[in-house]
């Protein structure tokens, strides 16, 4: 019997995927639970990844003609009530501010005082508060379109939380746009879905399926919700970003009207779209392995870490000087048009411990430099994604580092795409569908099945029944599918197309 290779993360993905996820976060020092129920603390390494995501997305939003602004954290309760489906969707899970000060209570401790006339809701999303401003700002067709994005925190009182994926408070961006015509609003909804898909695939190295949500998965108050869906390594689906076409629902509820060129009063057409810190969770679950976090270079806070190795003070000064120079040289190289981000770790701790520290934190390239490497004009380079290590000449490494990062980025995408392709199946019978999503061994439930592409009809009651039994959900109706006639595998009725089904987060 061969010995199991030792991994830095216990348990491994195969042993216990949810627990593995928590351990990757812990060992990469990304985040931690806080003393506030359901809220997390995002630690510096985790925050830098989100900061990098923000930087890329913000540029993409600006390049597509959007500007940033900021609206209040609080929403008057009456605003939420204006759109019936909207309030239905959020009333059950919101933080309610009812008082505006604390006073000494009868037993010496503090008690809430200064009751508010109208309770305020901590924003779960900002359609209503932003819409109330748009109603003021929009008078004429000349005031349109309005294309605003906001980076903000939002609160949804979640009962079951999981770090990054579902927390009571989370950080996100929410775009809110307002247009004169239905066509333009639909175009915007689709454009922002494309921006999200581009970001997911080209920056996060995470392949996604673009599609439309079915009615029961729609954003509360939307006419249609577009989504990007990614497959995690346990074969579950994760909704990574959504773009909503709100039609005139919110503009009617909030009286966002404009005079058109003919002088007629019209209701505007609105959209909203968002991605959140959940993407950090998606990143972790897409690329990380049994040794911890793996970060695609485009989002890595550090691209390269230099690890000086020495045994005594004499070696120390020679090695550190060499490493200093190497660091300078590397910083003069570029990746994606920006200087390579290099750190040197000269902390006085054991070499093995130091190496594993950076493996677990997912730095794409590690470079070890000892006295012998210096003699030979070499460095010892390791890639985090493949684990490959080899000695290369320093000059070669310096000139090649940008290319290696490009390779890592694309190899991570390919690997994730292969996983999805290997675990997606076109299924045309209910028996096969059931079998696909039913584990032989109940304990292996987490990793059974993947994505099934099957004909269905949205309104058939049979669909929800079977899905409920199997704990499977409709992920989306892919946008780019060929129209083919078919039969709903659940009801036997004619179908209008296939949907992608999967277990999900």
């Amino acid at each position: 019997m061969g010995k199991q290779p030792k991994t830095a993360i216990t348990p491994t993905r195969a042993e216990d995927y949810p627990q593995w996820y928590q351990q990757v976060i812990k060992s990469a020092d990304l985040a931690e639970v806080s003393p506030v129920r359901g809220c997390m603390v995002i630690k510096p390494w985790g925050w830098s990844i989100w900061e990098n995501m923000q930087g890329v997305l913000d540029r993409m939003f600006k390049d597509t003609g959007h500007v940033n602004a900021y609206f209040p954290l609080f929403i008057p309760m009456s605003f939420l009530e204006k759109e019936a489906e909207h309030v239905e969707g959020f009333a059950k899970e919101c933080a309610v501010v009812t008082h505006h000060r604390l006073e000494p209570g009868p037993d010496g401790g503090l008690v809430p005082a200064g009751p508010l006339e109208e309770p305020l809701i901590v924003r779960p999303t900002s359609e209503t508060i932003i819409g109330s401003m748009y109603a003021k700002w929009v008078q004429s067709y000349r005031d349109l379109p309005i294309k605003i994005n906001q980076w903000a925190n939002v609160v949804r009182w979640e009962m079951r939380t999981r770090m990054f994926l579902r927390t009571t408070e989370f950080l996100w961006q929410e775009g809110h746009t307002c247009h004169a015509t239905e066509e333009e609003a639909l175009e915007e909804t689709r454009l922002m879905l494309d921006v999200y898909a581009d970001f997911a695939e080209n920056t996060m190295a995470m392949p996604v399926i673009k599609g439309e949500k079915t009615a029961d998965e729609r954003f509360p108050g939307a006419v249609s919700t577009l989504t990007i869906e990614a497959m995690m390594q346990d074969r579950k689906a994760l909704q990574a970003g959504t773009s909503h076409f709100l039609g005139q629902n919110f503009s009617r509820a909030q009286d966002i009207t404009y005079q058109d060129q003919a002088g007629e009063l019209q209701h505007a057409w609105t959209t909203s779209w968002g991605v959140s810190t959940r993407l950090v969770g998606a990143l972790i679950m897409t690329h990380s392995d049994d040794d911890g976090l793996v970060i695609p270079p485009k989002l890595a806070p550090s691209h390269v870490v230099i690890l000086p190795i020495y045994k005594n003070d004499e070696q120390r000064s020679v090695v550190l000087e060499y490493c200093d120079q190497l660091q300078k040289q590397l910083k003069e190289q570029t990746y994606e048009g920006e200087p390579i981000r290099v750190i040197m770790d000269d902390r006085d701790i054991r070499g093995g411990e130091k190496k594993w520290y950076h493996i677990k934190r997912g730095v794409p390239i590690r470079v070890e430099v000892g006295p012998r490497d210096i003699e030979n004009g070499n460095v010892f380079m390791s890639r985090r994604d493949t684990g490959e290590s080899n000695g290369v000449s320093r000059d070669e490494f310096v000139t090649q580092v940008g290319t290696i990062l490009t390779e890592i980025q694309s190899s991570l995408f390919d690997q994730a795409l292969k996983l999805r392709e290997d675990n997606s199946r076109t299924i045309d019978t209910l028996d096969e569908f059931r079998e696909y999503f039913t584990p032989e061994d109940k304990d292996a439930l987490e990793i059974h099945g993947g994505f099934a592409s099957s004909h269905f009809c949205e309104d058939a009651p049979e669909v929800q029944k079977v899905l409920g039994e199997l704990k499977v959900t409709t992920r989306c109706i892919p946008l780019d599918q060929e129209q083919e006639p078919g039969t709903c595998i659940f009801s036997g009725k004619p179908s209008t197309g296939r949907a992608v089904f999967g277990k999900s987060y």
Copy 2:
């Protein structure tokens, strides 16, 4: 009698300074009141200024060894209670979350439901929640220092609000650091004050006095509070940033302890420091004039606006092409190491209206280009700060644009410094002090007096009495003053130095 020159802003600064301030904000489209009491909407142009401030500050924080992270929006009520002065300072003005959902009430509307076991406070500042994490993270001297910054929104329930200067919700950064020694924490407190002063003077072009707050103006729970104080154009002082040495007050209240090198358990030493969107208000009140906003180039969302001028379609195509090329040329020039930010305004509105639009928004340089300018190879350039306009050759303008921006930046600083110097006085008698701060004409109250530098003794009851009568406050005890013997002008007792006094925001 000469005709009054017409100004874009009514009233002027001299006529009604507070109203002028509101009108500058309105006419530059920086912000607007929201339907939520005391909360404002920061509009795109105002947000870009804050975004630019964030960019510069964030780099300065990172360059001084800080990292960003994110902590929860909510603070359990019991956390606030741990530090007695701290809770005293914030209990009277905080938003209290008491419920976590809404339910249909008896009259059909919604009512708060799901009462929380312990109320949550929307953070007014985060010493206690961050401290509770530091208490976990710090075990040994090896874990120190911790130097974390957070960009966040905070809420203080203000009864009298003024846009940017004092709002219920505002945006800020809060640095929280934790050190092994008192000396190191004091050094950090001072370092961050220097960073703020550097930012105020070199980026905002706003001269500041660095000093220490007196006991009654200290941050609740701090051992000492350092401040930067700026003079606005109505001669009032504005506290623009503070850096607090918290001693061991919070580490004792929250049990932040570490084992030192000798194995002894010690309480850590902490600091906190912050600046907020209030700086946007400071910027407005420092530089703007009776024609509206003036933005120092380093923070301007656009450095240059190009205004094409034409009378017919034929001219239009020639002028627009010329302007396009000019825009490209300008974007290849740099200011402060980055490409010049240029916009072209080719909206189909009246030339005068368009020009005043950009004057009121404070774009540092306007360039008008008409058919005659093109014939002569010229552009017609205007500086927002001085109002100077002149035709210059296009080539000269393109090569000089960076230099002109540098001139504008330093000229704005000089002007603000001159205002402060002209309105600061060393005062050594109580009579002169009273006279300085007492307007002859009660209606002119807003602009009477400036900064007075006078000897005082902090504990004398006479001081607060006189200051209260005059509506003057101790701004700070300047850090860089020469030690000289003196007599408190209020009590006649020996003084330890001078303080700066002024009316304030």
